[in-house]
């Protein structure tokens, strides 16, 4: 028998992230956002797949479902259906969400399930040591893509808008205050929220560095109308010398949970057998 500790179980003490990794800032900001949004930690449910980003749930105080690579969304969907009073937040990587889990990404958006999806987008596969991810830029050279990436990168935000997502935002680990605002807004949104977080990977991505992101991210102009879908699509596709950050698109639609008659009497997990 392992020695039984008397104290409640909480976060792990040590992270497996490199010094200077964007994940540290994201973690710190998430903690601040949870506090600012006034969430009850006991109802905080962090879900992730596999990758360096996906380890985040272990490093804060929350319920954790750290499932399979690419499968955070369906697991989170199942959790939300079983207990829709949980505040379900996914924190996972770009490979996890847009690569291995791409099909789930398309369909979770259609459902508008009330899950907040925070994607640590470092444009690379970190945990497996530096292969290209679906958001790696053309020409990005790795030990696998030795002549550089030849497939065009996905545009997750544009995809989400085309799919009628109800909350589509971008921020970055290099602008923590802005990131916190976006996290709080996503948490407060009813329905599925996508927050793509540009994140420097100091070890495997020598192209999209802290400097690189800092020079490019630019907040949306005052008066920007996130309800304008055509404008949102145009904005989401902008990438280059200027990368827009902020709430790019927002719409209202019934959530998946709201449309399930079986959930009308309260969370299934809590009303079971009653």
């Amino acid at each position: 028998m392992s020695a039984r500790k008397a104290e409640p179980v909480g976060r792990m003490n040590e992270t497996a992230w490199c010094p200077g990794c964007g994940n540290h800032a994201i973690l710190k900001t998430l903690d601040a956002a949870v506090a600012e949004a006034g969430l009850d930690r006991r109802k905080l449910m962090l879900v992730s797949g596999i990758g360096q980003a996906a380890k985040l749930p272990h490093y804060t105080d929350a319920n954790v479902f750290n499932g399979l690579h690419g499968r955070a969304l369906p697991a989170a969907t199942g959790i939300k259906l079983a207990n829709h009073e949980l505040e379900v937040i996914i924190t996972s990587g770009d490979g996890d969400m847009y690569g291995e889990g791409g099909n789930h990404f398309l369909h979770a958006i259609r459902r508008n399930i009330g899950v907040k999806c925070f994607v640590h987008d470092n444009q690379v596969y970190g945990l497996t040591k530096g292969q290209a991810s679906p958001t790696s830029e053309l020409g990005f050279v790795t030990k696998i893509q030795t002549h550089g990436v030849v497939s065009v990168p996905v545009s997750p935000l544009a995809l989400a808008i085309v799919e009628n997502a109800t909350f589509v935002a971008r921020s970055s680990a290099v602008v923590p205050e802005h990131l916190q605002k976006m996290m709080v807004a996503a948490i407060r949104h009813k329905g599925f929220a996508l927050l793509d977080i540009l994140q420097p990977c100091v070890t495997f991505n020598k192209v999209n560095t802290w400097q690189w992101y800092k020079q490019r991210v630019k907040e949306l102009p005052a008066g920007y109308d996130p309800a304008n879908r055509a404008l949102a699509l145009e904005t989401a596709l902008k990438w280059g010398e200027e990368i827009p950050i902020g709430i790019i698109y927002r719409a209202e639609r019934k959530t998946f949970e709201e449309q399930q008659p079986a959930l009308a009497k309260g969370p299934l997990a809590l009303t079971y057998g009653k």
């Binding site: 039984r4 499932g67 099909n103 079986a262």
Partner: protein, 556 residues
């Protein structure tokens, strides 16, 4: 005695409608009915068949010769004529011939004031007359079928049935019919039974991707969702389906997915996740012939070894394989109970034959009786999800109520946090695998029918009915033979099975090409040498077929 009526025609011609109608009507007439189906993987065309076998005692499966063949097309006639018993009759929507009674069904329907669609009622009426049966139960069945429509619909259908009977009146009673008794029970299918048992057990989230022959259970649950308070979701793929089930069970509700071989193959990683995170995921696996897409609408028992070994790594699981409809009800519930008691995945293995099989049986309890989820009432403040215990089962709490519930597909500590501490790894793996011992102690012993004998026909799952019939036939011919049916096929407690078969001549009767249960029994040390009667052409065994093959094979 029993009589077999076979209905054949193209998909979309009403083979199924006619078959369903006769099944319900003949059951209401007081006969024992067993309906089985064989269909092609298409929406129109081809040749589909629907067998309605009726008896004055229980009928457990199909048999080949039909005393009466009902065919809608020339192609179906050519295709199915060889299945007519000697002296049997054919009812054909075409030209009369030797042993063939012509009945222009659509025309007759029109004459009775009905549409071409009501040809099915005409056919059923004619079948009733040929069997020499009173039309009362058929009229009642039609009234019931169209109860929700305008009253004229039932009335016209009944007129069509009467027209059909009238047109073959000259041959009334030409087909021998078993003597009806008191009407009893209700007609249910295998799919319906499994769905009902899951709903009654308290399943709350069902997430699946359609795949024949599992879709019947999925569809039944969707239809019952509002009544039982279930969320039924068509997932984007089977990977999503199993991961949703994992999420839902983690959060505290019984959940299940339904699939067939190809879909289950996609679920392998998720199954392993349930093993690692100790989640009571329940999977209904309805088998069809494979590899790959195989024969999508046919039957087989080819996935036992796959179900037993799917998923990377080593973790406990239980697999149940019901034979009868009553057992399908009981074992579906048992799968949920086992999964929750041991916090590990459980599977229910059926196949196209059992999924589509319909019989009138004693009514099944439809009242919600939720299983015990095995949750802590009030988790202590220092709660740990994967605390190491003697029997391997850790106290289970659900997230949201108190202490954090932390789970990880990585190897984890008792806290649930990922770890690469190799000693902890061994401790946790030992803990998980310790559950195997307790699960083995709960092993559902196989059952003899009618009693142990010198020769044993051993089978599992849906082969129960045909095998039992074969044993009856062989015993009537003086053979000292019995059946041994396995309702649980994994894990097998070899030490308890061994004495049951010791000293007997064992023949495995399985719907596959390699005697998979035979090899499992061998591996469990329960069985040495055995013979085998195998079938893997996509059709189910029949009792007479097994008896005939056993007579050649088991003779000593």
């Amino acid at each position: 005695m029993d009589t077999n009526i076979r209905i054949c025609g193209e998909a979309g011609q009403g083979v199924q409608t006619t078959g369903d109608l006769l099944t319900h009507a003949l059951a209401a007439a007081g006969l024992h009915v067993c309906a089985t189906q064989g269909y092609m993987s298409r929406i129109r065309g081809g040749v589909n068949s629907f067998d309605v076998r009726i008896g004055d005692a229980e009928v457990l499966g199909a048999r080949v010769p039909a005393e009466l063949l009902v065919v809608f097309t020339r192609e179906a006639l050519d295709n199915c004529r060889s299945s007519v018993a000697e002296g049997g009759l054919v009812l054909f929507d075409g030209q009369a011939d030797d042993g063939v009674i012509a009945l222009e069904m659509a025309k007759a329907a029109a004459a009775a004031g009905g549409s071409a669609l009501m040809a099915n009622a005409v056919a059923a009426g004619a079948v009733y007359a040929l069997l020499g049966l009173d039309l009362g139960s058929l009229r009642a069945a039609l009234s019931k079928q169209f109860a929700k429509k305008d009253e004229s619909v039932a009335r016209t259908n009944i007129a069509c049935a009467e027209k059909g009977a009238e047109l073959v009146a000259a041959r009334r009673g030409a087909v021998k019919c078993p003597k009806p008794g008191q009407p009893f029970g209700a007609v249910v299918s295998g799919s319906e039974t499994v769905g009902l048992a899951a709903a009654v057990a308290g399943v709350k989230v069902v997430s699946s991707y359609p795949m024949t022959p599992s879709t019947g259970v999925f569809t039944w649950l969707a239809g019952a969702a509002d009544r039982y308070g279930i969320v039924v979701e068509q997932a984007e793929d089977e990977i999503a389906a199993i991961n949703m089930v994992c999420g839902a069970t983690y959060a505290g509700v019984p959940a299940m997915t339904t699939t067939s071989g190809g879909g289950f193959a996609l679920m392998a990683e998720g199954l392993s996740l349930a093993g690692m995170c100790e989640l009571p995921a329940v999977i209904l696996l309805s088998q069809r012939p494979a590899p790959a897409t195989g024969l999508p609408t046919r039957t087989g028992q080819e996935d036992l070894l796959f179900a037993a070994h799917a998923g990377h790594g080593e973790f406990p699981r239980a697999i149940f394989a019901p034979g009868s409809l009553a057992q399908a009800y009981d074992l579906t519930r048992r799968a949920f109970e086992t999964a929750h008691r041991w916090q590990t995945p459980a599977m229910i293995l059926i196949d196209q034959f059992l999924a589509d099989l319909q019989r009138n049986v004693a009514p099944m309890d439809e009242t919600l009786r939720p299983i015990d989820r095995g949750l802590l009432d009030v988790p202590p403040a220092d709660y740990r999800r994967y605390a190491v215990t003697k029997n391997g089962v850790s106290p289970r709490a659900i997230p949201g109520a108190g202490p954090f519930v932390i789970t990880d597909s990585d190897e984890h500590t008792a806290d649930g946090h990922l770890t690469e501490d190799l000693a902890v790894r061994v401790e946790q793996q030992d803990k998980r695998l310790r559950k195997c011992k307790g699960m083995l102690a709960e092993f559902l012993l196989p059952e003899f029918y009618p009693a142990p004998a010198a020769e044993v026909l051993a089978c599992w799952g849906s082969t129960w009915g045909p095998c039992r019939e074969a044993v009856d036939l062989l015993r009537a011919a003086g053979r000292d033979v019995c059946m041994l049916h396995f309702g649980q096929v994994w894990p097998i407690d070899g030490r308890r099975v061994k004495p049951m078969v010791a000293g007997r001549k064992v023949t495995m009767v399985e719907g596959n090409a390699t005697a998979q249960l035979g090899s499992v029994l061998k591996g469990a040390g329960a069985l040495g040498r055995f013979k085998a009667i195998l079938r893997y052409d996509g059709l189910p065994f029949t009792g007479p077929e097994i008896a005939e093959r056993a007579a050649g094979r088991v003779k000593s």
